[in-house]
Each structure stands twice: as C-alpha cells, then as structure tokens.
C-alpha cells in the first residue's frame, strides 16, 4: 500500500530524516515510535506530501506520490494532524463534512450520499450527539474523535494520524485506539506516530522504531521491542513483562538514576 525508499528531508541545514525505508501492507496498523525530535511528525508530514521530500521515493498504491494531484491523493489518503483548537466556530458537522470536499466538484453541494457518509462517520466515532456543537467548545478527546470522523468521511484507503492519543487521558486514548482498530478491520491501512510504547504494542500490527532520523528497527511489536532496543532508542532501561503466551504485555521503565 505504501512503499518508502531512502527518504530524506531537512529543515534548512538540519537533516531530520536520514534515509528512511519502510513499507506498509494493506490493513496494517503501523505505529511510528521514537523519542521527541526523532522525526516522527516530520515523517508523517512528508508521507502526505505536506512537506516536500528531499530525495527518495514514496509510492502510494505503487504510484509515485508526485504523480498524484493534491485532490486525487486526498481521496485515497486521509490525515489527522496533531491536535489543536481551531480559531473558528465551525460546528462538528461542518468539520466532518469537510472530509467530503475532495470528492466534490466546484459547483457540487453535499449530496444525500455524502450526508450518509458524514453521519456514518459521526456515529462510528461516537460524535453524532455533538454534531451541532462548536468544535471549540468540546473536550480534547471529543475533538480528536471529530477529526478522525472527518478522515473516515473522506473515505480513503489510508489514514495517517499524528500522535492521535497525545494529551488525552487513558480512557480517551483507549477509545480513540479502538476506533482506529475498527478502521483496520474494515480494510483501512493506518500509519500513526505515537508516544506511548505500551499502547503502541497493544494496538499496532507493526512498529517502526525511529532514532535520530533513521529506522532503528521495523517489524512485529514482539520482535522490535526488547530491552536492548528500548535502551538504544530511548536511553532507558525497561523491564519487559510478558503475559501467559509469549506476547509482550508491558514495558516497565526502571527508575532513572542517571541524574
């Protein structure tokens, strides 16, 4: 679904991505993990073309990203950027309706079919009751679900999410991740950057550990996450707790005595 080869990107003189290669198969959830400043958000932004890559290739469904028009790309790839409070009082319904814009011609208005997809997305994310409220008067967890609803209404094959669970308390985090898991079950391919290693292990089918703009390891969570990789990437000792089978259940960071 997504094939990335030797991707580089710099802000001015500062190299952020130093040759990233990875691929994501159909209906996978790829979690991008790494410490702050490792390039997670940049990678997401370059993957959707918002930031222009320097060198390397990004293939979406086997076709180079630059061969797509902006609108074509928006029909197959939805993006949920990092959480922020918009400056304007758009209603929740209006925000989700924007997901249909890439499908509308210049004189089109929202059709019955568009309306059905919008309501569907609102219901799937549990935001239907909020539809007439302003995006600015709902909570952070609700807002995040609204932007996910917009990506769902966009009806793409791929959804990219930039730290969808940051700044949320644990219950909202789980709610969001379950919505994302359901998306995968209906065949969507998901790529998301994440902070929380434990949640990533639990919900992602594949993990990419990024360190200093390079891929440290990529693969199934069980293979990628171990004491050594946590030590090398995050610079802390972590104890890995496994449950009954041999699956990783939890990383327990040891107390940091370095200071």
């Amino acid at each position: 679904m997504i094939d990335i080869k030797n991707l580089t990107f710099s802000y001015g003189d500062k190299k952020i991505l130093k040759g990233i290669s990875l691929n994501v198969e159909n209906s996978e959830i790829l979690g991008i993990l790494g410490p702050n400043g490792s390039g997670k958000t940049t990678l997401i932004n370059v993957m959707d073309g918002y930031l222009k890559k320097e060198t390397g290739d990004i293939l979406i469904k086997g076709k180079k990203i630059e061969k797509y028009s902006r609108k074509e790309l928006a029909r197959i790839m939805g993006v949920v950027p990092q959480d922020m409070i918009p400056a304007f009082d758009f209603t929740v319904y209006e925000i989700v309706a924007m997901g249909r814009y890439p499908h509308l011609g210049i004189i089109d208005t929202i059709s019955d079919n568009d309306e059905r997809l919008i309501f569907d997305a609102l219901k799937k994310t549990g935001t239907y009751e909020l539809k007439d409220k302003s995006i600015r008067e709902i909570s952070g967890g609700e807002r995040q679900r609204v932007f996910i609803a917009r990506a769902i209404a966009q009806d793409p094959d791929i959804i990219l999410l930039d730290e969808p669970t940051s700044n949320l308390d644990i219950r909202y985090q789980i709610e969001i991740l379950e919505i994302i898991e359901k998306m995968r079950e209906v065949g969507k391919t998901i790529v998301m950057s994440m902070h929380d290693v434990n949640l990533a292990i639990r919900y992602c089918t594949k993990l990419a550990l990024i360190s200093d703009g390079k891929i440290y390891a990529i693969g199934e969570p069980d293979i990628v996450i171990n004491e050594e990789s946590i030590q090398n990437v995050y610079g802390i000792k972590g104890k890995i707790i496994r449950n009954g089978g041999n699956k990783i259940a939890y990383i327990l960071p040891e107390k940091f005595n370095g200071l």
Partner: protein, 333 residues
C-alpha cells in the same frame, strides 16, 4: 449568540438587498411611489414622468453602489479567511493606496479634465500594479508567506500614501477633489461603470462564492487544507488575485470606502458561523444592500454638498457591529 441557518440568512439578505434597491430608487429630490417603481422596472415607459430619473439618474448609481458593496464585502471575507487574520480587509494588500496614487496623478495632471475615464483607468492600473508588487515581494521574501503578504501590503500602503500626501501638499488647488475622491462617492456613477462591473466583477464574485468552500479548511490550518486536497499556495494566490481584481474595480469607480469590506464579513460570521460559502453569498447581498442604503443617505442628506458615502457606512455600521461583538463571546480567537 444563537446561529441562524445558512439558507435562512441568505434569504433574509436577498430580501434586504432587493428592498434596499427598490426603496432607494424612490428616494431623492423627486419622490417616486413604490408601485410606480415596480411598474417602471418591469414595463419601462419612455414617455413616463419618472423614466429619466429612474433609468438615467438613480438606477446606474444604485446598481453601481450595490456591485461595489458586494465586491468589497466578498473581498473582505476572502482576505480575512485566506490570511486567517480578522483585521484583513480588501485594502490590506495595498490595493487602495495604489488606486489612490493613480487617481491623484490623474486629477493633479489634469487628465480627469480631458476625459473622465482617465481617473478610473489610472486608479485600476495603480491597484493592479500594487497588488502584483505585493505578491512579488511576498514571494521572494523568506519566512511565512502568509504574514509577509500582509506586511508587504502594509508597507507599500504607507509608502504610496506618503506620495499621495506629498502630491496633495504640492498641488493645493486640487486638494479638495483628491480628498473627496479618497473618501469615496458614487456621484460619478454611470451605466458604463455598471457594465464593466457586470462583465468583470460579477463573474469573479460567482467564482469566489463557489470556490469559497476551500477557504474552510484553510481557516482551520494549512496542514488540514492540504490533507483535504487543497493546494494551499495555489488556491491562496487565486483567491488573492480575484479579490484584488474586484477591489481594484470598486476603488476605481467609487474611491476608498471603509467599513463594508472589513466589518460586513464579521457581522455575517457572527450570525451564521464561519462556513465560507454561506458567508460569501450572504455578504454579497448584505454588503450590496447596505452600500445602497448608505449611498442613498449620503445623497439625500445634502448638508453643504453630497456627503462622502464612507462617512455614512461607518457611522451607522460600527455601532451595530460593536453591539453584535458584545453579544458574541470569543468569536475570533
């Protein structure tokens, strides 16, 4: 404040617009009854007593005022939206100062006396030149283009205003003419101006109304707009050019009229919410109708001579705006 639905408010604006035009036709030194106006509009009678007053004197002026009001209001919605800046107005890009320079040169060099079309022509030329200049400066400067465009426009405005002031200072005899033009008026209205607006401004307004939807995601954030299939850079430039065009035409035919372009968009947003297609379509009729009313007051008050319409637009409009602003908590963060 409770929001009014888009369709409902658009309908109200259309009714307001139509009534403003018809009632204004009747007002003036010669009063014309409502139904006589309706009759004359649908069944023109060339020998009727009001024919010339309606068709030659009042209608071109009223239609020009409505088209200018609509253009400025729409231009304001677009500029505020694409720059995500509540203080943007149609003149923010320096358009007005360029037009003012063109008009001043035309008046002072005596070109206006040779041919009345010199003034709007030079004003439009000045507006276009400035707009292109601002766009070029913003493109070649580093940093966030969004702010640079505003700052470049501001800089050029101040620079050109200084030249206009200098020219006025050096040419005392034309001072009043220039000053009067700068304050804005529809007293020079004629059908040719109306036709030019119909040919160029109206299609641009229609395109802006249709494309206006793309401003919604831009107002949330560039990243969001990008994710929704909008090439932000390209579409911002297109919006910028089209709204500069209608502003340039408006300034050329009527001078610099404040308030409508800055405040009408805010009033509409407070009432309907930020959905740009709705805001643009409502602003067309609210801005147009409001300008017609303001101009009718300007030409009927007749204190010494006709008042500049810009004075009226602000004197009536600002209190309404301030009232709405107090009713609305945190409408623009």
């Amino acid at each position: 404040m409770k929001k009014i639905g888009g369709i409902k408010f658009i309908s109200i604006s259309v009714v307001f617009f139509v009534l403003a035009i018809i009632i204004s036709i009747g007002i003036g030194p010669v009063h014309i009854p409502f139904f006589t106006i309706i009759k004359e509009i649908f069944y023109p009678n060339a020998t009727g007593p009001y024919h010339i007053i309606i068709w030659e004197l009042r209608l071109p002026r009223i239609l020009l005022a409505s088209l200018v009001g609509a253009s400025l209001a729409v231009s304001g919605v677009v500029m505020q939206g694409i720059f995500r800046n509540p203080l943007s107005d149609p003149y923010v890009t320096g358009t007005a100062s360029g037009a003012a320079l063109g008009a001043t040169i035309s008046i002072i060099a005596g070109l206006t006396a040779l041919n009345i079309y010199f003034l709007p022509f030079l004003a439009f030329l000045g507006a276009t030149f400035t707009t292109i200049l601002v766009a070029i400066i913003a493109t070649y400067s580093s940093g966030p283009k969004n702010e640079n465009m505003l700052l470049a426009g501001l800089g050029i405005s101040i620079f050109f205003s200084a030249i206009v002031s200098y020219l006025m200072y050096m040419n005392g005899k034309d001072l009043q003419t220039v000053f009067y033009w700068l304050m804005g008026s529809f007293s020079g209205a004629q059908w040719n101006y109306v036709y030019i607006m119909l040919i160029f401004a109206v299609p641009a307004i229609i395109i802006l109304a249709l494309m206006g939807r793309d401003i919604d995601p831009i107002m949330i954030g560039e990243e969001h707009a990008y994710a929704l299939g909008i090439n932000v850079k390209k579409s911002r430039l297109l919006f910028f050019v089209l709204s500069s065009l209608i502003t340039g035409l408006s300034v050329a035919f009527s001078g610099i009229i404040g308030f409508v372009g800055l405040i009408i968009p805010h009033i509409v947003r407070i009432i309907t919410g930020p959905n740009n297609r709705v805001v643009i379509i409502s602003s067309i009729f609210l801005g147009g109708g409001y300008m017609v009313i303001a101009d009718t007051i300007a030409r009927s008050l007749n204190i010494i001579e006709e008042l500049p319409v810009g004075i009226i637009t602000s004197l009536i409009g600002i209190p309404v705006f301030l009232y709405l602003l107090t009713k609305e908590k945190g409408y623009w963060r």
